[in-house]
Symmetry: C2
Subunit: 369 residues, 2 copies
């Protein structure tokens, strides 16, 4: 049994990364997927990738997914609501309340519009980056409003589950406040932080460690997309930015005279509140305590890592995660291997017996780096 | 030939992560390393790890490395200068100008003090996390002052090179301004950003993607260490924080009415300046354009990744970097393999011919995620 929960035809408007990925995922389940794109060449490409077929006379979609840029979304949702009076129309834009308000202003049939936001993506967009599994295990927020029905919510939840996502219900306003905190403000802050490098002395950027790389990675994001997102979620983003600024002002004041009474505790509070905040983020990357990390030295030549992994396989241990680290120019790398804690000691002993060199005592590991 | 450039005895004061790692690296080169620590138990542990021997009557170090917490550093440097009148004394603290000023105030023999800062570390400290190769390929900043001699600078450069580091010369002030930008301000900003999560609704942190994880990872750092660092580098850190705040104020003003004249271009400038800044960071992690990324689907069972890497080895291609990604609970992962661009097409074709499924068109790749 591999049948889709979703029934009926699905029409996907916009064949960028998300639209094409949705099409690929639904086609893999055997659903009839109709694709639309204002660019005939882009449409042909997505069809060629197997994400669906072109529209035809008599199409009658049960669900329309509008997957276009944020500031074209309301426009196209309104068009689709009018064109397919039997369809439930959703979108995938990363800001929700403004689109609903826009549709209401236009007098669109919002009773058939139910917004959603799959929290999936990649830095590079376009149909060519699409893959059926970008939604796997990722949240898919569905944002019911006053006129939404249970049946509509179930229909979108089924679509999300069909694509491997975890559906999450929130009001449009809750969603927008949430993404301000977890996505939009981090983007602004990362961009502002990276901009400090512009005027740094030439020797300075080369001193960068993983901390700077991590905190500024998303500063490389596409400005055009983010101008739209920030503009559409300006209220919630600004509220969070203002609280950030208030706390920043306190740090600046404390650092003016760091030994003055109250200054050390103010700086300490900033740092411990950061600890508290980051501890709320669930999941495996970076600070996952469910796994033990073994760090194995691997010579930088073809076949060495393969040999290591083959031997780990021979020990019948499954790696939960793996990261290869090597310094520029070094003839040596480190394979950081995450395994279940109960496997760590046996595996470490077995690897040492096989002649591998472990860079770290497994008792100490867990969240190295 | 594997002889050390460093000659003479090296005394390491403080056997935490850095001190013990220095000892391990120098012992591996056959040097006589004397260890000191105010805690006898910690000293015994570092000796037990093989990082050096205990002090003995008649020790006459050529170089003393003080590797203690930032706010004990000046104190211990002064003590060591007095105890070993023939030695060049250095330290590894992450702030430099204040220590020199402090020594001058104390009337210490600063002509024999030459500060340094190896840009290496791990999230977890302590002798148990030490390894000889944490300095490999990392910059080691050496900060000559008015009374430093070439011979002293060469001696520390030799020590750094012996440990696999890349020596970099800067004045103490240049260093402190540099680390404010690349390390201390990112720490403050990451902590302030993570603190936004404290008051978020319960469902919100689970929506986090890689962007939030990356930008807040260092918010998990040890507050006690960072209070010292920020306090000692308060001036340069505050200067950068104030420029950050000025730009933040501009964003907040623009988002108050994002469609007003001037607002979109102000937001755009924030984002493009972030692009410009992050592009100054060299190196391979995240956004290295020197390599092409191939994304290969790998079933989540023992041996699959090993088979993939064996077959890549058979194609005689060296991986420059590798990252395994898999979603919680998924039966499928993605191996992101960085290779030289000229190898990418041949390898992609060979892997497909061997039955592997590539998740992305290599023409489009480069900096996925």
């Amino acid at each position: 049994m591999n049948a889709a929960r979703t029934t009926g035809q699905v029409r996907v408007v916009g064949t960028g990364l998300l639209g094409t990925s949705i099409g690929l995922g639904l086609r893999a389940l055997g659903l009839d997927v109709v694709l639309a794109n204002r660019s005939p060449a882009a449409l042909r490409l997505a069809i060629d990738y197997g994400a669906g077929r072109a529209a035809a006379e008599g199409d009658d979609p049960a669900i329309v997914v509008v997957a276009v840029s944020p500031d074209s979304t309301a426009d196209l949702v309104a068009t689709e609501l009018a064109a397919y009076p039997n369809a439930l129309v959703t979108d995938v834009a990363s800001v929700k309340a403004g689109i609903l308000a826009d549709l209401e202003t236009r007098g669109a049939d919002v009773a058939r519009y139910l917004g959603s936001h799959p929290m999936a993506g990649r830095e590079r967009g376009g149909a060519m980056s699409a893959r059926a599994d970008i939604f796997l295990g990722r949240p898919w927020v569905i944002t019911p409003h006053a006129r939404s029905t249970d049946a509509q919510v179930f229909a979108l939840e089924n679509l999300a589950v069909d694509l491997g996502s975890v559906p999450v219900r929130m009001s449009p306003e809750e969603h927008d406040r949430g993404v301000a905190v977890i996505s939009h403000v981090p983007q602004v802050v990362s961009s502002l932080l990276a901009a400090r490098l512009i005027d740094a002395a030439d020797a300075v950027p080369a001193l960068a460690g993983q901390g700077l790389r991590d905190t500024t990675r998303i500063a490389g994001s596409d400005p055009e997309l983010w101008i739209q997102i920030l503009g559409q979620n300006a209220g919630p983003v600004n509220e969070v930015l203002r609280s950030f600024r208030d706390d920043l002002d306190a740090v600046i004041a404390a650092l003016r005279d760091p030994d003055a009474p109250g200054a050390p505790s103010s700086i300490a509070s900033t740092l411990t509140r950061g600890n508290t905040g980051v501890a709320r983020i669930p999941g495996k990357h970076g600070r996952d305590q469910r796994f033990t990390l073994l760090v194995v030295k691997v010579a930088d030549r073809p076949g060495e890592l393969a040999r290591l992994l083959t031997e780990i396989g021979e020990e019948d241990v499954n790696m939960e995660d793996l990261r290869l680290e090597h310094s520029p120019g070094a003839q040596l790398g480190f394979a950081e291997i995450a395994v279940l804690p109960e496997k760590a000691h046996t595996l470490a002993a077995a690897l040492v017996a096989r002649g591998w060199s472990l860079a770290e005592d497994p008792r100490m590991s867990g969240a190295a780096r």
